[in-house]
Symmetry: C2
Subunit: 455 residues, 2 copies
């Protein structure tokens, strides 16, 4: 009898694991069943803002691989609209509910991949039956929001709650659609994934785009009328709204795991080892937005939900399940985003993270340009580096700029990954040509300034 | 009496050294005199093609720092149009000829920085008095070429000889100016700084731009009439031309150094140690396009003339002369360029270099996209990796693609610099967002394929 792998959650992490396991073991050797409560496999939730804005035409463009592909090419028994409601580790069984009304099924497993992702944080005030309040986590969420935006009466005034990546991207998407947008953020500034001095550049760009940013404001409730949302109540007054978008972050979806006795770490994610095995539980693996992972710089466990990590973690789990050997090395918190034409990249620790992790450090900010100063289209690129004192080891980096700024963070991410010091970095052989950089690359200029700050 | 530093050559390498030395030592402690036979200090010769094409308006835009700045802010006695004709190491003197007719001067030095750059390779057939034949090394060359292109009769037909970076960039510049352009290349393909399979993508793009590329063709002479060039003679027939641009590469300008007894290495460049001291010669330093440097991957001495290296080497020499400590770590051959909208990046060894250096290796080529496939503007990005067998250590990488492709090479350059294996690279935490990359970054996809090729 073939060994049986059950995958709980058929998105990036789960299906990367299934594909890799299948690549190494045929259907006669390993049977694979994947459950998902949704209607889609492996889709890009990061792409939803661009679909809402209209930049991306079709919802199905966001689906990387559809169930038919998994069934036919990978011989995975994909069962959508099936929510796994219990995992019995002793009996090696899961219970799955057919959400279309087919009742419960019990399925035996030898090996399990837990990949349930994350769930949006919805504070009490947001738990409402009123229409016009949306999260943007799933394609169904996106469908519902698009329908609402195109409905009658057509919404004109939007309030976005939360100024993280999704909030910022959604604010832009709604502006692009022609709505007036208020962004409400509890902290002093949106885009707190970068330090405040860098975040200010982003906030300024958003204001330039027409987003009305209200910081230091706490939402206390929603106003509704006839079952439709009409406004957002805050400690700074009420903001009228025909549509409210929630971007308050996500947390690991671990309810099912905790009920089954899987260990959860301090970050709230499931604890896994380097090979993505759930710690202390034989034959059970986990991957994606539901796990916690090692931050290579701070040495602390963190929860960083991101499709690229989910895919890598799933691949690692799948290679191991398939009989190969692979480890997930942890993360350093690299992220990029775009606000209108302004580009933002970050990696490693912010100043506040570095302090919290106990590092002594210097930080420097330099302004340079993305191209040679004389080359048409040269625009300011601001680079911030945070370096350990006195070693000079890079701890974190942030870039804000226009045209071709964000992905420059990758060179800094690889330097950070390898534990380079800013002094070593001044010698790096980076690509130089007038359309791409001044003769001193912005990264090198920043490294030089950091060296000076250390002496 | 102050110590006396003489800088021979007032471009990137020499003036970076002067500035850094001055930063650490005041005029009372260190007197600095800089000679240059040209009329400019610290200019961007890499920018000349963009000035010829008209993208950059003014010649002076290409001058990073003018003589007045060096004189006033850095207290450097800059003497332009002065060619150093002899260096006497025993008497610690240089002889400089005033090219404006002022005769020879002798100047004493305690410390010397040799930074004479490189000179274009001009084969016998190119040594002609005929008008209309141009190199593109100095701003004066550029001035002369621009005057010719705007002259009467206005040139219509250009032949560019040599398909390296300068040849390719000049071919594009001349197309932009409305000329018909033939590019003559002796090898099987232009852009031989990347492997032939990648170079073909560049050649195709150039043909798409309208450049008539003739490969495997050797130039044998020039046709002239009334003192003006009229054509280029080759072993494949004659190509009519109203203007001929030479892009046949450069070699280190070491005649003066060799006459003085400075050591020249196998690459033809001056031999220096890690601190940019000329090997075996006290108090004499060298930097820039005239020196040879260590290739960190092959372990061989190489001559790679590039402004970014010259600046770094000059900075290192200047810090050391100033009493500090700095070393130049060598190069890995990173370079980027743009052909119309096609972008090219490369780092490390090509297949032919890797074989010549004695490595066993695998190479893989992958096609991916610069953005998520569903994001508007997503275009093909081709990534090639060369990895040592069986270790998996990255030896070289090349990228060809559109929009935001070239500078992606930096992440690979930093990985290569740090000796990463392709297996380690599959775990790298690179920036992901739909406007910038698919969920598997092109670099990661290539690393995965290389891992597969190694097993």
């Amino acid at each position: 009898m073939a060994e049986r792998l059950i995958v709980v959650g058929a998105d990036a992490g789960g299906m990367a694991a299934a594909s890799q396991a299948r690549r190494r073991r045929g259907p006669d050797d390993l049977e694979i069943v994947a459950f998902d409560r949704g209607r889609f496999t492996s889709y890009s939730s990061c792409g939803i803002p661009y679909w809402i804005s209209g930049l991306v035409d079709e919802r199905d463009d966001l689906v990387a691989r559809d169930p038919a592909t998994f069934r036919e090419q990978f011989h995975v028994d994909v069962r959508l609209r099936h929510e796994v409601t219990a995992i019995d580790l002793d009996r090696r069984e899961v219970v799955a509910r057919d959400l279309t009304g087919g009742g419960d099924v019990r399925e035996r497993f030898d090996t399990l991949v837990y990949a349930t992702g994350a769930t949006p944080v919805h504070p009490k005030w947001a738990r409402t039956d009123a229409a016009g309040v949306f999260g943007v986590q799933t394609l169904d969420d996106g469908d519902a929001l698009r329908d609402w935006l195109e409905g009658d009466p057509q919404p004109r005034r939007a309030v976005v709650v939360g100024g993280g990546y999704i909030g910022v991207e959604m604010a832009e998407a709604l502006i692009v659609r022609g709505l007036s947008v208020i962004l409400v953020e509890q902290a002093d500034q949106p885009m707190s994934t970068v330090d405040p001095d860098m975040g200010k550049l982003v906030a300024d760009a958003m204001r330039g785009l027409g987003v009305d940013i209200r910081t230091g404001v706490t939402v206390t409730g929603l106003e509704t009328h006839d079952g439709r949302v009409t406004g957002v109540c805050t400690d700074a007054g009420e903001f009228p709204a025909d549509v409210v978008v929630l971007g308050l972050g996500v947390r690991p979806n671990t309810a099912l795991a905790e009920a089954a006795g899987l260990p959860v770490g301090p970050s709230g994610g499931i604890r896994v080892d380097r090979r993505m095995r759930v710690v202390g539980v034989d034959g059970v693996w986990a991957a994606g937005d539901c796990v916690e992972t090692l931050h290579r710089v701070s040495g602390q466990p963190v929860h960083i939900p991101l499709g690229t990590h989910a895919n890598k973690q799933g691949r690692v789990a799948g290679i191991n399940i398939g009989g190969g050997y692979a480890t997930f090395p942890g993360v350093i918190g690299t992220a990029v985003t775009k606000v209108c034409d302004l580009e933002v990249g970050r990696t490693g620790l912010r100043e506040s993270d570095a302090a919290a992790a106990g590092f002594e450090f210097v930080s420097v900010v330099t302004e340079s340009t993305n191209r040679a100063g004389y080359y048409p289209g040269a625009r300011t690129m601001t680079v911030k580096l945070i370096a350990e004192k006195p070693s000079g080891r890079l701890l974190g980096a942030q870039i804000v700029g226009w045209s071709e700024a964000a992905k420059r963070i990758d060179a800094l991410a690889v330097a950070l990954w390898n534990g380079m010091t800013v002094d070593e970095m001044t010698g790096l052989d980076l690509g130089y040509a007038p359309p791409y950089a001044p003769v001193w690359d912005p990264v090198l200029i920043a490294a030089r300034k950091a060296v000076d700050a250390l002496t």
